[in-house]
């Protein structure tokens, strides 16, 4: 016989309780999934933006890159919308991620400001290392969010390359912005020694360096929030 429950007497509805028990891990899963997608979108957007300075064919294939930037930006905005809907109880994380992407946009206004792209030949290697370290930091957060044994990310440029993040014995990814800060310091030295003299508008590189520092700080703040939630 079917059991009937009297909801009016303030009893707990076992169906609802079971439903909540089933739904809450699912909600958590989708919440993390949405965060994961935002991190992937941020990593890829930052990477393709750096192509403007690192790839020598940027000026010849401007239309191709414009389309690539546009697509990656749209992916980021879509994933941000989903993340906001699924992380309503984690407003601080949302704000930090918003700061990160604002800083990434600010950082890459450099591509509109530079008139002579040959100037990047001086600092290409250092920019490459800045990009690599930024990517590693963002990936470590991605790993922390997903809590998978190893995260595989496809490089948009070379489909066969994968990035594997080392994990510490504690089970979390190793996070330190020191290496990124060191790379920015090296870039700053190049700015003071060469770029300041060679560039027709040196202030744009000063702004770039400042934005790099800000991005490093923002990533560190977000990692603190993810690693040690209040």
């Amino acid at each position: 016989m079917k059991k009937e429950y009297d909801f009016t007497k303030g009893r707990k509805n076992p169906y609802l309780t079971n439903l909540k028990k089933t739904i809450s891990p699912l909600q958590e899963f989708f919440r993390k999934k949405s965060l994961e997608k935002v991190f992937i979108a941020l990593i890829e957007l930052n990477k393709v933006y750096f192509d403007a300075y690192l790839k020598p064919d940027f000026l010849e294939r401007k239309d191709y890159y414009a389309k690539l930037f546009f697509r990656k930006r749209q992916i980021l905005f879509k994933s941000l919308q989903k993340m906001r809907a699924r992380n309503q109880t984690h407003q601080e994380i949302i704000k930090k991620i918003e700061h990160i992407y604002e800083t990434i946009f600010s950082l890459h206004l450099l591509r509109f400001r530079v008139t002579d792209f040959t100037i990047f030949a001086i600092c290409r290697q250092d920019m490459q290392s800045i990009l690599q370290l930024m990517t590693e930091l963002l990936q470590s957060m991605l790993l922390h969010t997903s809590r998978r044994p190893a995260q595989v990310l496809r490089d948009p440029g070379t489909a066969s390359k994968h990035f594997w993040i080392p994990r510490t014995s504690r089970g979390t990814t190793d996070f330190s912005a020191d290496r990124l800060l060191a790379a920015i310091h090296i870039f700053e030295t190049i700015y003071h020694q060469t770029l300041k003299i060679v560039s027709p508008d040196p202030s744009i590189f000063l702004f770039f360096i400042q934005d790099c520092y800000t991005l490093s700080d923002e990533i560190e703040n977000l990692s603190n929030l993810l690693w040690h939630p209040k």
Binding site: Q74, F77, L80, K95, E98, Q210
Partner: protein
């Protein structure tokens, strides 16, 4: 599961069905030879991307008639060629006419609507960024930021495809790239506006920045009026004077030694803000020049 169709695809399907019905009616009354060629041509000239339907339809027609004409002339006799050419011409006329008359795509108008609403959102976002900088009121700017993101998602990506209508490509791509650049400048402005500046510096730039935001609002309204194909009621003021005033105040505030400038983070942030403001001005002006 059947794939979801967007409005454009639904419209295209209706148009193709109507054109095929029309082709069948013509076949019934005029008993043309080579009906299948007529129907096939009708469909081929109608399979256009969003943009100029006449231009794209004509291109499809010329390619088809050239290929079919050469192939028929080589492999079959002249009588077949004439019949086939007649069917292809009739099919193309039906296809292009239906594409232009029944539920036509007004992509130009749609794009203008998108740009206008985006400009509106940019204006609102800028006003809130100014509030964020002057009064540390961050909530409004954060809310409008989401609106800007949603607005940017409405920009169609196929404009940047090389296969997009040649007649429209250049203008639309230019507008899209300007709108994207403006959005990135605004995000950057938002990022630097949140920095806790020295109150004296903020007080010194308060008046010119407020005037600048009023003038930007008027400028955006003027841009929208032109995009709406309406006459401008009067002249619109440029806001470069206000930006220069802010720059002057900034020059008064910065320390004389360059080393100190390197140390004071707020001056670099303000430098970024000023640079972004100038670029925002330049981009709006470029849009206005294009519309003139």
């Amino acid at each position: 599961m059947a794939p979801k169709m967007n409005v454009h695809q639904k419209k295209q399907l209706i148009r193709i069905l109507c054109a095929l019905c029309l082709a069948i009616v013509i076949q019934y009354f005029f008993k043309t030879q080579e009906f299948y060629w007529m129907a096939a041509t009708t469909i081929i000239v109608m399979l256009t991307r969003r943009g100029n339907a006449l231009y794209q339809g004509l291109i499809h027609f010329f390619i088809l008639i050239t290929v079919v004409g050469i192939a028929t002339a080589i492999f079959q006799n002249h009588l077949v060629l004439y019949d086939r050419a007649e069917a292809i011409v009739v099919g193309a006329i039906i296809g292009i006419a239906v594409n232009l008359i029944i539920l036509p795509d007004h992509f130009d108008a749609e794009f203008r609507e998108i740009v206008m609403s985006l400009l509106d959102t940019y204006d609102e976002y800028f006003q809130h960024i100014v509030l964020c900088m002057l009064d540390q009121n961050r909530q409004l700017a954060e809310k409008t930021q989401i609106k800007v993101e949603k607005g940017l998602l409405t920009l169609p990506s196929f404009i940047l495809d090389p296969s997009f209508d040649i007649a429209m490509r250049k203008g639309h791509q230019y507008f899209t790239s300007r709108m994207v650049q403006l959005s990135e400048i605004l995000f950057s402005l938002h990022h630097v506006a949140c920095y806790p500046y020295d109150q004296n510096l903020i007080d010194s730039i308060r008046q010119p920045l407020e005037e600048c935001s009023i003038k930007i609002h008027a400028f955006v309204i003027a841009l929208k009026t032109v995009l709406d194909l309406k006459q401008l009621p009067g002249k619109v003021d440029d806001f470069y004077g206000e930006i220069s005033k802010i720059a002057e105040e900034f020059k008064h505030a910065i320390p004389l030694e360059l080393e100190a400038l390197d140390l004071e983070k707020q001056f670099i942030f303000f430098g970024i803000f000023l640079r972004n403001l100038k670029e925002f001005h330049d981009n709006l002006l470029l849009l206005a020049k294009t519309l003139r």
